[in-house]
């Protein structure tokens, strides 16, 4: 007799837990030919608010982890993802990818995570400066995370676009609330399971599924969100920029198609960093000089 397959319930990811949307609503994710592939949570603005609360609570401690420790945790994500490749490949194929393309996409994702894992304790060293001011002061500039970032994943990609936008944000010590691709949402939820088992502290990454048309507004107008990461084909860029002005969110816009070679780099990390410059006087008394 044929075994009855156990189907997965796709839920959302808030504060390290997998609740259903508080609204109790769902929508059907379909493939290109219209066949239903899963029921997804249709998250509400209340879910956005809950996710923001969780992300804010987690952010300070994530920032204060050592950069080396963040690098280890990010590397752990890659390790766990490597072991669960087949599940992601299957989901990508359900969402109309060929097997070969799916294999490449998952491999690229793992490599991208490793890439950013390595940046955690290096970007600040590369991008900081000691500034030779013309007065008797020691002066240096270094980066700190912007804080809480709202990420709206590109609609065209289930996994690679999401990973390309997520990793630079969290490698720099930000927390985030991420809205998955509405039409290709499966991998986002499964990635949450990977994050949950990779020592990523609860609340650092929160992932919601649902209709971007109703979620962009509560996210970009939330006064406790510091920045928004979005792709240029989104229909809501202008509205998001307007809503973001209320608390001067930094809005970063990227191409929808993330390039394997060019779509990574230190600039994607510093896009969600604030530069802090610190001054301190240098005592300058007595006659000794630097010469010997």
């Amino acid at each position: 007799m044929k075994r009855i397959e156990v189907l997965k319930t796709y839920k959302i990811y808030i504060g390290g837990k997998f609740p259903r949307t508080e609204s109790g609503r769902f929508y059907e994710a379909t493939n290109a030919s219209g066949r239903s592939i899963a029921n997804m949570c249709k998250s509400s603005r209340k879910d956005i608010r809950n996710a923001v609360v969780a992300a804010r609570k987690a952010q300070g401690a994530w920032q204060e982890r050592t950069a080396f420790n963040r690098g280890q945790i990010l590397y752990r994500i890659a390790e766990i993802l490597e072991g669960r490749k087949s599940q992601f490949i299957e989901e990508l194929m359900l969402q109309d990818s060929t097997k070969k393309a799916a294999q490449i996409e998952v491999n690229d994702c793992i490599d991208r995570i490793v890439y950013y894992a390595g940046w955690c304790d290096k970007f600040n060293q590369v991008a900081s400066s000691v500034n030779p001011v013309s007065s008797s002061h020691f002066n240096f500039s270094s980066y700190e995370p912007t804080g809480l970032v709202g990420i709206i994943s590109p609609e065209s990609s289930s996994l690679f676009g999401l990973v390309s936008m997520l990793l630079p944000v969290i490698s720099g010590g930000n927390s985030c609330v991420l809205i998955a691709s509405e039409s290709k949402p499966l991998c986002a939820v499964t990635l949450a399971e990977v994050l949950n088992t990779s020592d990523v502290p609860p609340g650092v990454v929160n992932i919601l599924t649902g209709q971007v048309s109703e979620l962009w507004s509560p996210l970009s107008s939330h006064m406790d969100v510091n920045a928004i990461s979005i792709c240029s084909r989104s229909a809501y860029i202008k509205d998001i920029q307007i809503a973001s002005a209320d608390n001067l969110k930094r809005v970063r816009t990227y191409d929808d198609e993330w390039d394997v070679q060019g779509g990574q780099g230190i600039q994607y990390i510093t896009d969600f960093q604030e530069l802090k410059t610190t001054w301190h006087p240098i005592e300058n008394i007595g006659g000794s000089s630097s010469s010997y």
Partner: protein, 481 residues
């Protein structure tokens, strides 16, 4: 006339204005020429010390701004983007040198037009402005060292709108990095302080910079709005209020225009009980009374640890009593004139609110000049965290004082503000400094000092104090894509 008070009297020592050259009337500097405003309208710029007229300034409208932007666009495409980076740098070096030669004239005009003490314009504003050009000149042919492994390009026409508190210095902060990175410029100074930007236009003209690379258009908010909305402007650099900064972000939404916004602040200046108290008091004075408090990063919220609060406040009041308030051109003057009647009425409105709220109120006992716009240095003591005085930017010589007991408490209170421009920390303990400097949400943190600026030092805010940095290597990024 320097105000007399109980402690200190000085004979007046007023800087001469004999050597400055000012026209009665200034047109717009567009495409290397002085152009009449198409509306034929001019407005008057006044000396805030005695309310006398200094000059007539052209009021640029949309048509004038369009001419300026088109000139800048043409200059970008035909000239500025084609010359070599090292030649670009040499023009900027030339501008820096010419400014140095004109330094005293610029300082006097700055004090006449803005009301700031000559001591500050002579020793801080003008030298820093010159140095800013000199610093960025050298970057022009070294950009590939600033952003390794990233292909960076100029943006095109930069529209720049600057405030009245550091008129020439803000023009330098805007123009120098824009030119070094290969952009062309349309700059609008504030309507009450256009003169040094117009003198800078003369200097730039004398430097031989190709026509259209820098255009100076004067006017009010409507002139700035025309720059922001012009389709050929690729980048907006704005320094001013948070409210206008938000308007700008909204108005360029949906376009590809880049923006950097240097906005308001309500910066915390934190004094611990182990601080060198006398130096800290100087730092408090410099933090809030520098440039009459017309400083976006002014240390306008003072936090004093409870066990030294009485001593610090007593010494602060004593020190305030020796501040010389009066003629900005007097070399003894510490505190000059408030920039405009409008700003004075805003400050007085806040002082009234503070008195009504019932916080302890102190003003130094001094006789203010009868004419002109003056405000005595003001303290409000034991102000509530919820008070308007601790939440809103006043942009004047008004300090609100709160006390604290623990490090955690003061971090929370200091960060409890929508702003995040600057902060000050005073303590003798290095580890405490780094605890504070890493936890305060502010773009600039001064430890055991305050209100220091340098061309090589990036400046800019967190949160609602804006985004982007000006100064230093990081200031280049704002003008590149």
């Amino acid at each position: 006339m320097t105000t007399k008070n109980n402690n200190w009297d000085y004979a007046a020592s007023v800087e001469s204005t004999a050597h400055i050259k000012l026209n009665k009337k200034y047109a717009l500097y567009i495409d290397g020429k002085w152009v009449e405003p198409s509306s034929k309208k001019y407005f008057t710029t006044h000396n805030p010390h005695n309310e006398e007229r200094i000059a007539e300034i052209a009021d640029a409208n949309d048509h004038d701004v369009d001419l300026a932007v088109k000139a800048a666009d043409r200059a970008y495409k035909e000239v500025w983007s084609k010359i070599s980076a090292s030649e670009r740098g040499k023009y900027i070096f030339r501008i820096a040198r010419l400014m140095q030669e004109h330094a005293r004239e610029l300082a006097v005009i700055e004090s006449l037009d803005s009301g700031k003490p000559i001591r500050e314009s002579r020793d801080i504003d003008i030298p820093l402005a010159c140095n800013h050009f000199f610093y960025y000149a050298g970057w022009a042919d070294k950009l590939e060292y600033a952003f390794p492994n990233q292909k960076k390009e100029a943006l095109g026409v930069a529209g720049q709108i600057i405030p009245w508190n550091f008129p020439l210095l803000m023009a330098a902060w805007k123009i120098a990095p824009a030119l070094a990175t290969g952009n062309t410029v349309v700059l609008k100074p504030a309507e009450t302080t256009s003169l040094t930007a117009l003198k800078l236009a003369e200097i730039i003209h004398a430097s031989g910079l190709p026509p259209g690379v820098v255009n100076i258009v004067t006017g009010y908010g409507h002139t700035g709005a025309a720059i922001v909305s012009h389709p050929k402007v690729a980048k907006i650099a704005f320094t001013g209020s948070t409210a206008v900064g938000k308007l700008i972000q909204r108005s360029i939404a949906g376009t590809t225009k880049k923006a950097t916004l240097e906005l308001g602040g309500k910066s915390a200046n934190i004094i611990f009980d182990d601080a060198p108290i006398d130096q800290a008091v100087e730092g408090i004075i410099n933090g809030i009374f520098f440039n009459q408090g017309h400083v976006c990063c002014a240390g306008s919220r003072l936090f004093v640890q409870e066990n030294v609060a009485e001593k610090v406040i007593r010494k602060l009041k004593h020190r305030m009593q020796s501040l010389q308030i009066g003629n900005p051109l007097d070399k003894n003057t510490d505190i000059g004139a408030i920039n405009s009647a409008e700003q004075l009425s805003i400050i007085n409105k806040y002082i009234k609110i503070g008195i009504k709220e019932g916080s302890e109120f102190f003003q130094s006992k001094c006789v203010l000049p009868k004419k002109g716009y003056y405000c005595a240095p003001t303290l409000f003591i034991n102000v509530a965290q919820s008070s308007v005085l601790t939440q809103e930017e006043i942009f004047g010589p008004v300090l609100s004082i709160q006390t604290f007991r623990t490090v955690d408490e003061v971090i929370q209170k200091a960060n409890n503000s929508p702003y995040g421009l600057a902060a000050g920390v005073w303590t003798d303990k290095g580890s405490k400094i780094f605890n504070l400097t890493s936890k305060l949400k502010a773009g600039v943190v001064w430890a055991n000092t305050y209100n220091k600026f340098d061309p090589s030092s990036p400046f800019g805010g967190y949160k609602e104090s804006g985004y982007g940095r000006e100064g230093g290597l990081h200031g280049l990024a704002a003008y590149l894509k």
